[in-house]
């Protein structure tokens, strides 16, 4: 399990990424950068890179994190773990993922309370139609609005 045709982000998607577009245009946000983290095969490696990603967030002293994934199933193990590592550090985090009916999270944790599901198919499934279940401008705006709320409330309780 990994990245299917309808959820995968093509090179063209990255080139005109709606998430980057929305966040970088927002006058209230200082976008410090875009972090790329891979999805290794082995579970041990998944935890390793997830922790490193969270460590970066802590070191950069960011007020909030938006994390997006274009795969599901096995890729959700990485996704959940990285969110947990970030959340544990008291940093507000909002996720974006395809969930629908087919891709319910295999693992969950308390920090996954604000996930934007960018499923667009009627049945909530991987339709094998390229681009169908992709992040759009509305999803990005929703995610940023969630994050702003979370940041307002503060991270560490």
């Amino acid at each position: 399990m990994g990245v299917g045709p309808s959820t995968k982000e093509t090179t063209l998607h990255h080139f005109r990424d709606p998430l980057l577009d929305v966040v970088s245009k927002d006058e209230d946000i200082d976008l410090v950068g875009v972090m790329i983290v891979g999805t290794p095969q082995e579970n041990e490696d998944k935890y390793f890179v997830g922790k490193l990603a969270a460590q970066w967030c802590e070191a950069m002293r960011v007020d909030g994190v938006l994390i997006s994934v274009d795969g599901w199933g096995n890729s959700h193990v990485d996704f959940a773990n990285t969110i947990e590592e970030i959340g544990k550090r008291g940093i507000p985090v909002v996720g974006l993922s395809f969930v629908g009916t087919q891709a319910q999270f295999v693992v969950k944790n308390q920090y996954m309370d604000t996930i934007v599901d960018f499923n667009k198919s009627k049945e909530g499934i991987e339709t094998e139609v390229v681009g169908e279940n992709n992040v759009t401008e509305i999803d990005a705006k929703k995610a940023l609005a969630f994050l702003k709320l979370k940041m307002k409330r503060g991270g560490l309780k």
């Binding site: 309808s6 080139f15 946000i29 972090m35 994190v65 992709n134």
Partner: protein
């Protein structure tokens, strides 16, 4: 405290209305026509031992009711004119984009987690960020790999390498187009905004193996050459500037 400007990226777009095969590759900017060297693909696959054959075609906007093999990627046609990725000037063609499809010689689709072969008009949700617009012309590269090569990492990698050479053929002439003739000019600034909420975007990308690779920081926007594989760097987190990302720092190697 004032905003501090770090770097500037200018993206100039040139709109294309027609793509035709020709003896050599060039852009007739007055007539908004791209001419593509007809047999270039033969040359590009000559050293590829895992590729059996490749076909280059032009799909007009009303010609999408055709069968295509599983879609590996859609690619922008963009090139650096000045500076490195994330700063300087980039030229991009609008009205046209690239599409890569692949299959192996036994008819096995090059795909892993579901495949997208079928009638093009039905297999793509058009007008998304990552797919062509309704009236885009598609430059289609279809590759037939040798038996079994679709499931090992070097098979799909070879497909992307050849596809990128076709795009590079266009990039080389796009670089030389007079920037003053662009249709649109967009300026993007990487800046530090003190006192604003600091946010980082994390993109979790594929890095498991064959059909699950991601390249970052290629020589050209959305390109293949010069790109580092996220698998090869151990999938560890990499930080890119917003402008690097916007300038095509990632290539999806699905």
């Amino acid at each position: 405290m004032e905003e501090r400007v770090l770097r500037r990226l200018v993206i100039k777009s040139f709109h294309i209305n027609d793509v035709k095969f020709s003896e050599k590759t060039f852009i007739d900017i007055q007539n908004r026509t791209l001419y593509l060297r007809k047999n270039c693909i033969e040359e590009f696959i000559s050293n590829e031992e895992d590729i059996k054959q490749a076909k280059l075609s032009i799909i007009p906007k009303d010609g999408r009711d055709i069968f295509v093999n599983s879609i590996l990627d859609f690619s922008p046609i963009a090139t650096k004119v000045l500076g490195r990725l994330g700063e300087g000037i980039t030229h991009v063609l609008t009205g046209v984009c690239g599409m890569l499809t692949a299959v192996d010689e036994e008819g096995v689709q090059v795909a892993e987690f579901g495949s997208s072969e079928g009638i093009l008009s039905q297999q793509v949700y058009f007008n998304r960020a990552g797919t062509p617009k309704d009236d885009d012309i598609i430059i289609h590269v279809d590759i037939t790999l040798k038996k079994g090569m679709g499931t090992v990492r070097k098979g799909p990698t070879a497909c992307h390498r050849v596809f990128d050479k076709v795009i590079q053929e266009i990039r080389n002439v796009l670089k030389k187009v007079n920037g003053r003739l662009c249709d649109e000019r967009h300026e993007f600034i990487d800046s530090i905004k003190p006192l604003k909420k600091k946010v980082v975007i994390i993109k979790q990308v594929a890095g498991q193996g064959a059909m699950y690779d991601t390249l970052f920081l290629p020589n050209e926007p959305g390109g293949f050459e010069g790109g580092r594989s996220i698998i090869d760097v151990g999938n560890v987190p990499i930080i890119l500037s917003p402008n690097e990302f916007r300038d095509g720092a990632l290539r999806a190697m699905h």
